[in-house]
Symmetry: C2
Subunit: 372 residues, 2 copies
Amino acid sequence: MERRSFFQTGLAASLLGVGGGTALPAWLSASPRRLPDGSVRLSSNENPLGISAAARQAIIDGLDLCNRYPGASAAPVIEVLAKKHGVEPANIQLGAGSTEILQMFVQLFGGRIIAADPTFEDVPEYAEPFSIPFDRVPLLPDYSHDIDRMRERAQRTRGTAVAYICNPNNPTATITPCGQIDEWIKSAPDNVYFLIDEAYYEFAENADGYWSALKWVKTNPKVVVVRTFSKIYGMAGLRLGYAIAHEDTIERIGAIASSNSVNHLASVAGLASLHDEEMIPRSFNTNERARRILEATLDELGIERLPSHTNFLMHRITGDLVDYQNRMRERGWLVGRAFPPMLSYNRVSMGLPEDMERFSETLREFRSRSWV
Amino acid sequence: MERRSFFQTGLAASLLGVGGGTALPAWLSASPRRLPDGSVRLSSNENPLGISAAARQAIIDGLDLCNRYPGASAAPVIEVLAKKHGVEPANIQLGAGSTEILQMFVQLFGGRIIAADPTFEDVPEYAEPFSIPFDRVPLLPDYSHDIDRMRERAQRTRGTAVAYICNPNNPTATITPCGQIDEWIKSAPDNVYFLIDEAYYEFAENADGYWSALKWVKTNPKVVVVRTFSKIYGMAGLRLGYAIAHEDTIERIGAIASSNSVNHLASVAGLASLHDEEMIPRSFNTNERARRILEATLDELGIERLPSHTNFLMHRITGDLVDYQNRMRERGWLVGRAFPPMLSYNRVSMGLPEDMERFSETLREFRSRSWV
């Protein structure tokens, strides 16, 4: 390894304070605003700040043990998560992203899944190859889950029913009142399981009527809460998510989990991120600033938008969604994909505030061409 | 991030050439010979050299995109692997280690698994929660797979039969003549699938009668070859393995794969490792030197050992295996675990040659105490 190639990296520049005269703070000058081709990805609900400086350092410190199986580095992550959530290590299962956690529970429960329409696409994709029935219940006009209708479907289910509730919901960014979910959990018969996907929890935790389903896990083995390091901690590329559930449920999921699916560097980066007390407020505040800029532009242009409690939002477009995405791509913005049945809406993830200022200019151009 | 904490890492020392006056080459001075507690792990068939310097640099260069989902970084790994193996990208499926690949195929095929006894333990563990029958066929006296008896079992199976052949076999380190496997594949009826685990391929490829099952995949959709970056490339902690199979089979496995289970840093490190032409010969030669030292000591002490074509070997012990492992642990060596039914044998992975010199001293002490 040559010093020269090392010092060419952004990391070395950041360490040595030679960030090229930008006004951005040091922790940001090294962060990944753009993809290698120069485009800005506003299509995958990623964190534009990148991983924390503490996580970067932990990865560098962790290089020496990349040749060892990663079980030992996962253990302290589980311990710290247990403390953070006021549970025991036996209440936590790690996965290679929260999507692996969702896949495992779809397989473990094995019963009919009752979910919103639209919602996070990975869950129906995991059900399909195992011929697990999947019921889609349209969101209500306020884009919250139709808990009453989902409950009716569960009541009509023979055998196991699994309520998948993504809250805030992806792709709509909207929240479902947690009082309604609590009522259902409280009164649910024995055949109903609850898979509560809180991937965007930290962006929504201050919202009225929103709280975690965590309070159920100590006493109710049928409630599983799913969280991720991909969003607020910016670790989508490293693959770290987890389930919090009753210890009996965690024991059951442990039996079907892949060996060592969480890699060593994800664990050390996750641990460092948990100890970095600035990470959550920094991500939250940056996202709030970015979203307010975008919301103001959409309102200024009279473009209908859904209320957002996450790091993305949906807004109305005119014309064809694929045309819209292609035109955005030509201007260096990756947005969308299609989220049927909401084909007259685009989902856009927040970049940095300055990205959303530039994106606003593109929206104004689109309006001048009647593309939005 | 402070320069001080960075320069305290072994990486900085290695980069700056301040390796403490050791005679070891630079790429080795930064490598992970010991666990944080000072012990040497000879229990998990890991590569004591650590990941390659090129992989370390690729990880550092890859830090900027850790916040992005890793699909884009996996694509070039698939391309290079396809070229390396003379197949198309459509013949490759990546996984979070080869164990995830094995898990996926156990689930995809869903039929009775016919395997050696003993063999790699993850496969029966993946079958069990899905109530997939698992037949164990004892190894022959020369520790090769009993292909004739496995074939008989398959012939008696109604519905799908899956022949799991780990070659070289873990935990015995022995090879099964590939001519016998080819004969079976050639004559197998339609209900028989072959899951050929070549995790240790690179250590065995020069052995008489040993070759890859790769030649089958273009024409036979029922043969799956499984490889890993955990062993010869030293990447056990990063989680990267893959299947090579007919494109129809890869399409089927793609449908049940977890989204994005391979992390961004594993992909960039894997790609760099594939381009590092010194990595395979360096790992192979270091392992050969280490194994010859251990074999000479075992022979000198008259301790029965199995022939090894991998980075580990099994040798006979006297007395209880747990006592043996505990006594080794007290001396800083992690060895074993139990591999029933071979409970009077210990499995030991190779460390560096100098580790095996020191380990030989421990074996001599054990002999003087009649523990071996």
